[in-house]
Amino acid sequence: MTTKLKEVDVVIVGLGWTGGILAKELTEAGLKVVALERGAPRSSENDYSLPNIRDELRYVVRHDLMQNTARDTITVRNNPQQEALPMRRLGSFLPGEVVGGSGVHWSGHTWRWTDMEFKVRSNYEERYGKKFIPDDMTIQDWGITYAELEPYYDKFEYTAAVSGKAGNIGGQLQAGGNPFEAPRVRDYPLPPLTPILASEMFTDAARNAGYHPFPRPSANASQPYTNPDGSKFGGCQYCGYCQRFGCEANAKGSPHMTVIPIAMRNPNFELRTHSWVTRVLKDSDGKRVTGVTYTNVLNGEEFEQPATIVMLCAYAINNVHLMLLSGIGAPYDPVAQKGVVGKNYCYQTGAGATLFFEGKYFNPFMNAGGSNATIDDFNTNWAFDRAPLNFVGGYNVSGGFNTPLPIGYRPVPSGTPQWGSEWKRATAKWYQTAMVINASGSVMANRYNCYDLDPTYRNAFGQPLMRMTFDYHDNEHKMGRHAAQVINDIAKSMNPTRLNPAAARTDPWTVVPYQSTHNTGGTIMGTNPRDSALNKYLQSWDCHNLFVVGANVFPHNSSYNPTGPVGALAYWTADAIKNRYVKNPGPLVQA
């Protein structure tokens, strides 16, 4: 039996960065908001405190803050000919499952995606001609511009305490910043983090090679900070336990210590944890949604929560899953290339080298989530000519470390035995004296990379799992080869004692090991309902009182981490609802 509750103005599904931003903004606008979060309440003081938070086994290996795949997972396959099988435990990506969502355990890398992405098809067609884009590459313009989003990027950066160095303020290039970034109105709220030796060495080598290195912008407060909402940050302690951990210093910009507590103090807001949303309900004519059903996972009781506005703010994969389970929008069919929900699932690619320098102490355990230095010369640099390389998109390259904790990171030169005294000696010799250079590459949409509902496997609620079909295509392989070459050239110029060179990946995408929690697409934004699920305000083309917020709205994936535009788009959507939608409910863009 389902208990029907009293209607509220807004129900938010999932309380991470996007849900938290919308909860704060919409309650401040006077709307009554209920947030339903499947995970547990956790706080910095009680859960992310010393010493227990510094536990690699619990948080990195055993996924303490992540989605529990025993209860709900996805099935995976590389192509439509393969039979999809369940991802029985997490590996390649790690959706969060607590109050704060993945915003608790992210590293903080915060980028501004630009018109290079938002106008991707127009840009490439204009410069290289229509034939440059392969037939099966289903990239399309996003329907939004960088200029529209700039104030919202700014708002997110100042909320999340992003440390960095501007490269372009109002068209004026700034020494030490990223010269390829789009113009910003002002600098980051905080100066860059203190560089570590590995990032300094990479910076020197990249500069000597003629590239333009800059400190990676990250929501790791380089010094104590109070954001415009009054949320207080401590300074980053460079503890090395950043990605996959909550921050005990409150130095990592996270929703559970910024927007969510502000919403919690507002009497217009109510948070219900342990609440698992199973379906979005449509009204009889299918033009509006009426609320959601959810299960209290502490006792199995089912509820209907009616709402005037429904906002899906769960992890990107789970938002798409809810749309498919609820039958909202036409499911995407990769053969007929019709339908929109499930379309343009994208991921990221990469390549990496490990450099060994005998006797040089990098102290990898001292670093912030965003200590790396980066170059964008092969990414947002439109002067980088793709014609001779024949690929669409780009990659950024960075030098430093990425969660260099000892269970997961003990680099040794290739050819070292895997056990025994020789292995131990090599591990002892090289753990502190190695560094890495990595490339993170974009993945362009492909007609066969998509989501639908699995015909066989079910979750703990008896609902079909979502099926992910994904593999890399020629475009990514070409880019990977170029990236590996660039990495290895930089690495060799640094004269390491030993080098494990970067190699382009050639194997299919696999669900293990960890690669990146940057899953995008599935309910993409766009200019018309024929090829997108949402308009530029992340409003459903089918049901105008349904908004879907998160990286699931990206029509393709860039090489950058997604949280910058995810946060900015949440603020952008909040403004559209506050300033336009509540005054005149209906489609914000005419189809």
Binding site: L50, P51, N52, R54, D55, E56, L57, V61, R62, H63, N68, T69, A70, T73, V76, R77, N78, Q82, E83, A84, L85, M87, R88, R89, L90, T194, I196, L197, G235, C236, Q237, Y238, C239, G240, Y241, Y361, N363, F365, M366, N367, P406, I407, R410, Q418, W419, G420, S421, K424, R425, T427, A428, Y431, Q432, T456, Y457, R458, P508, T510, V511, V512
Partner: protein, 241 residues
């Protein structure tokens, strides 16, 4: 190195099958192969044995102890695996929630799938471990006439290379690589996880690589120790609790 021992397992097994014989002394309960032992070494009074096992049976304990001492031998870099408590870590991990399949999606149908689809066995980690040890010991008996813990060091090395490269195949279809991946990962975890989990005893695992553990604050260290070694005095969760 020829290493044969009258170990705790033989004693305990004998005690079970012949309580009366046990009173007559260990010789009476020795299996034939143990009867050949030249000089049974007394069990070393090390902490792992005092700690006891929550999951591993006698054969499994002998396998794991032998495995971790082979993979992590005592040398100038660190004490041996059992002295680090790696066997205790593994036992506790298998006995606990992870070993019992917490967070593992365990609904069928069960298919092997492609390697890119990841773990697809209808086994919890503890069940996989148990089946894998049994299969490895069966391979050792078939090939060398003895279980893994009783073969020569060079033979053990051969077995581990066979497991890690997939050159050994198990009977009954258990995938070798899946077992090896789990085995290897748990050994690594036993060396490098926080000592609260039973391994990395005295933080001697972290000391191998100079990992300082859970230092509260590195803010001032980034510049002070740039390019210089950091004092190697690891701190664990218990030290700060």
């Amino acid at each position: 190195m020829k290493e044969q021992k009258l170990d705790r397992r033989d004693f305990l097994k004998g005690a079970v099958v012949g309580g009366a014989a046990a009173a007559g002394g260990t010789a009476a309960i020795a299996t034939p192969e143990i009867a050949q032992a030249e000089a049974p070494a007394p069990a070393a009074p090390t902490a792992p044995e005092a700690a006891g096992y929550a999951f591993l049976n006698l054969d499994e304990a002998a396998f794991v102890e032998t495995l971790v001492d082979h993979m992590v031998p005592a040398d100038e870099v660190s004490p041996k695996g059992t002295d680090l408590g790696v066997n205790i870590y593994i036992d506790r991990a298998l006995a606990g929630a992870w070993g019992k399949g917490e967070r593992l999606y365990m609904q069928g149908p069960w298919k092997q799938g492609a390697p890119s689809q990841g773990y697809q066995l209808p086994l919890t980690p503890a069940q996989l471990y148990r089946a894998g040890i049994e299969a490895t010991n069966a391979h050792c008996r078939r090939t060398y006439g003895k279980s893994f813990d009783r073969i020569e060091v060079a033979q053990r090395q051969e077995v581990l290379i066979g497991l890690s490269t997939g050159k050994i195949t198990f009977e009954k279809g258990l995938p070798v690589r899946v077992f090896w991946t789990t085995l290897y990962q748990t050994v690594i975890e036993g060396i490098y996880s926080d000592p609260i989990y039973g391994g990395n005893r005295n933080k001697a695992g972290w000391a191998i690589i100079g990992f300082p553990g859970i230092i509260a604050v590195h803010r001032d260290h980034v510049e002070k120790y740039r390019g210089k070694p950091f004092p190697n005095k690891p701190v664990g969760i218990a030290d700060m609790s």
